[in-house]
Every structure is written in C-alpha cells, then in structure tokens.
C-alpha cells in the first residue's frame, strides 16, 4: 500500500532508493511507479539528491574483457543484418551523381539568418529526382522534414549520417509520425562533408544501431 500522506510517501521512496525495502515492498513500489506521478517524483528526488554519496565509493578499474562480453551479448540478441554494400564506397559515388542530377532539377533558396542553419541536405530516392526529405543542420540542432514521403504501414523511417572515411552510419533518430525529426544537442559542425540516408525500420527504429531495412533516400549535406 503506497501511503497517501506526502511525508510518509517520501520516506518510503527514500527507503526504496536507499535499498532498505525487502523484495516484496520494493516490488510494490516498482509496480506503482508507472501510474503514480507523485511517487515517481519522490523516487527521482532521492536518486538525484543522494547521488553525491556515490562518490564515496572509490572508482576502480574493472577487470579486462567486460566490454567484450557486453558487446557480444548485445550482438547475440540483435544480430546485425547490415547489407554488405554499406561498407563499400561505390554506392556513395553513384549517390553523389544522382544528387547532382536532383540538384540540377531543384533550385533551393534558403535565407540564412545569423543564427540559422549551417547545412542543408535534400534526400531523394536513387531512381527519382523529386526530393523526399529536407534536412537543416546548425547550432547543435538538426531538423529533418519529410517532403511527400511516408513509410510503409507498420514501419518507420530512420535517419542516418554517413561520414567520409567512417565505415558505419550513425543513427540520428526515428522520424516521428508527423514527419519532422529534431535532433537536439548535436555537434553539427562534424557534419561537414557527411551524407545522409533514410532506411525503413521497425516502428521503434533499428534494433541493432545499424540500418536493417532497405535504404530508400540518400543525399549529401551541403554547407551554407
């Protein structure tokens, strides 16, 4: 029974965070957390306010090999189905050629305010010239907006950055249902020279951290 009295509730949450509750009591708290805002707030309060105490345990080098075990467990749970050509530079050459054709067909006018975007990218399907996504980057934020593109039913689009000389794409985020993705607090300056791609993924995004579905739109970011 989670108490209604705020003082009792806070003390109970404090005991929970301290690890003082027995298994049954702790389970009761965990079951109540999703539905009880006040309790969740109290648990967060104690986790954050008591956190400086954690510094009393001196940092220590973990034994070697732990990261390798973590990595292989994740890999076993989500085997990568990365298409081989992702690691091959050749497709990006024809992509660039395709983009040149698209750029010729599209005059993009962007007024750049002093604090505005540093980069713009237009993504299209390799076989088409019509833009499917427009991406702006600058001031630690990337905004991608779908332009007439929607994922297949039950799937989602995910946006990736591909850097020169880096073999693996970096996930930037899943495009929400409204077609607009904002990636905040991102060091956009490293995007100079990068290409972008959109792949089709399960609703929550790629389970592996790398593209698993077909890549449907590609394009290069241009500096403004």
């Amino acid at each position: 029974m989670i108490p209604d009295d705020p003082i009792d509730r806070s003390a109970l949450a404090g005991e929970y965070v301290l690890g003082l509750l027995d298994a049954d009591e702790a389970r009761e708290i965990e079951q109540a957390l999703p539905s009880q805002d006040a309790l969740r707030g109290e648990v967060a309060f104690w986790e954050n306010r008591l956190h400086p105490l954690a510094a009393l345990a001196p940092a220590s080098d973990p034994p070697p090999g732990i990261w390798e075990k973590i990595s292989s467990k994740i890999e076993a749970a989500n085997p990568s189905r990365l298409p081989v050509w992702w690691n091959n530079a050749a497709p990006w050459r024809w992509t660039t050629a395709g983009l040149a054709a698209a750029a010729a067909a599209l005059l993009l006018v962007v007024a750049r305010p002093p604090t505005g975007p540093h980069f713009v990218g237009v993504l299209n399907a390799p076989s088409e010239q019509a833009p499917s996504f427009v991406v702006l980057g600058g001031h630690r934020e990337i905004v991608a907006r779908a332009a007439g593109a929607a994922p297949p039913a039950g799937r989602a689009f995910e946006l990736w950055a591909i850097y020169p000389n880096v073999s693996r794409p970096q996930a930037l985020g899943v495009i929400p249902a409204n077609g607009v993705l904002r990636v905040k607090d991102f060091p956009t300056e490293i995007l100079a020279g990068a290409s972008l791609a959109v792949s089709v993924e399960p609703p929550g995004g790629s389970p592996t951290g790398q593209p698993t579905g077909p890549v449907v739109f590609v394009g290069k970011l241009r500096s403004l």
Partner: protein
C-alpha cells in the same frame, strides 16, 4: 578524419581534432559519437540505438560504476557481473531515460546500485559485522567532508550535517555499502525497530532540508 575537419571554419571542430584522432586510433569509432562526451548526450544516443555511444559511455563511466558495485558486493567477480548486466540494461532502457527527471549519471548509478543489491542479497552472503572487509567502510567520521565539492553535493553535505550521528551513518551505510536494516542495526549496535524509525525520521528531516 582530416577529410572532416581539414579546412573547416568551425572552432569546435578544430578544438576537437586531436581528441577525435586519438580515439579513432584506439578503437574503431564513429567520429560523431566520439565527439559526444557528456553522459546525458551519450545515454540519449544509446536510446537511439547507437552501440558506439554505449562503448563511449562504458569508457567514460565504467571505473566509477565498477567502484560503486564493488563497494556493495565486495567481490571483484560479482562486481564484474553486475557491471556487465547493468550496461546491458542501459542498452535496453536508454530509450526511456528522461533528462528532465534527473542527471544521467544518477540514472546510471541507480541501475548499478540496484543490480548490485540484487546480487548481494540473492547470494545470501550476509556481510557480518565482524567481516574484515567492513573495515574500509565508506561510513567514517569524516564522511561529510568527503562528499564532493560540486554544487549539488553542497546541499546534501549541509543537510546530512543536521542529522544525528546514527541517522547520518545509516543513510551512508545503506546507500554506499548496500547494508540492510538489520545489518545497519548490528553495525551501529541499535535495536532493529529503533533503527527503522530513526532512518524514517532522518529521511523526513533530510527532505525538509533539501527542499528548503
């Protein structure tokens, strides 16, 4: 790497160049993720499915978190298992991390502490009060001085100073050493019922003070 930063006019890129290049030499690394260095940004990137962000988070946080686990479980092989399970849980749960609810480091600490408490209590290896390992307990007279000097630590240090000795030592023994009510009672030579009541009153007083 040079292809990205060479000739750029962005100061951040120039400032980061040496750091990124070193990281690239150490392990295959995504330039972008390597450049993301705060725990919060990395946890959010892990939530978006970036394994490289998880690796970077491990590099940044594993010594601190292993120390926390080791303090509670006291056996290196158990602490290693705790650290491994905790990072797999981070991988699975990072998508639900909400920055507005608190600092990423506190979130990570919470995962490791609860994993460690589970491990130590499942093993039923009661840490007895005459266990020599308890000789290096965090619960020492100068505990208040040893809490970090950071701003968020200041309030906690001040408020712990308002508790009585038993209350303050109990909070530290529970949070840092992972002791149970009965272990704390034994350690501080107090009846179990008394300890429970004093910790509850101590938490109420601590909350009043931390909020003010």
């Amino acid at each position: 790497m040079q292809a990205i930063c060479a000739g750029t006019v962005f100061p951040a890129c120039n400032g980061r160049r040496g750091f990124v290049r070193n990281a690239m030499a150490d392990h295959e690394s995504d330039v972008a993720v390597t450049a993301l260095s705060s725990a919060a940004t990395l946890v959010e990137a892990v939530g978006r499915g970036s394994r490289l962000a998880l690796k970077r988070l491990y590099d940044l946080e594993s010594r601190r978190l292993y120390g926390i686990a080791l303090r509670i479980v006291r056996r290196p092989e158990v602490a290693a298992d705790v650290l491994q399970e905790a990072f797999i849980q981070v991988w699975q749960n990072a998508g639900s991390y909400a920055p507005e609810r608190g600092a990423a480091q506190a979130w990570l600490t919470g995962i490791v502490r609860f994993r460690a408490l589970d491990a130590v209590r499942k093993s039923r290896r009661e840490v007895l009060s005459d266990d020599p390992a308890l000789g290096d307990s965090a619960e020492e007279p100068d505990v208040i001085e040893r809490i970090g000097a950071a701003a968020e630590a200041g309030a906690l240090r001040r408020c712990l100073g308002l508790l009585d000795d038993v209350q303050r030592r109990s909070v530290v023994l529970a949070f840092v050493d992972g002791l149970t009510h009965s272990q704390i009672a034994e350690r501080l030579a107090q009846p179990l019922g008394t300890i429970k009541g004093r910790i509850r009153r101590g938490l109420a007083a601590l909350r009043d003070c931390l909020e003010s």
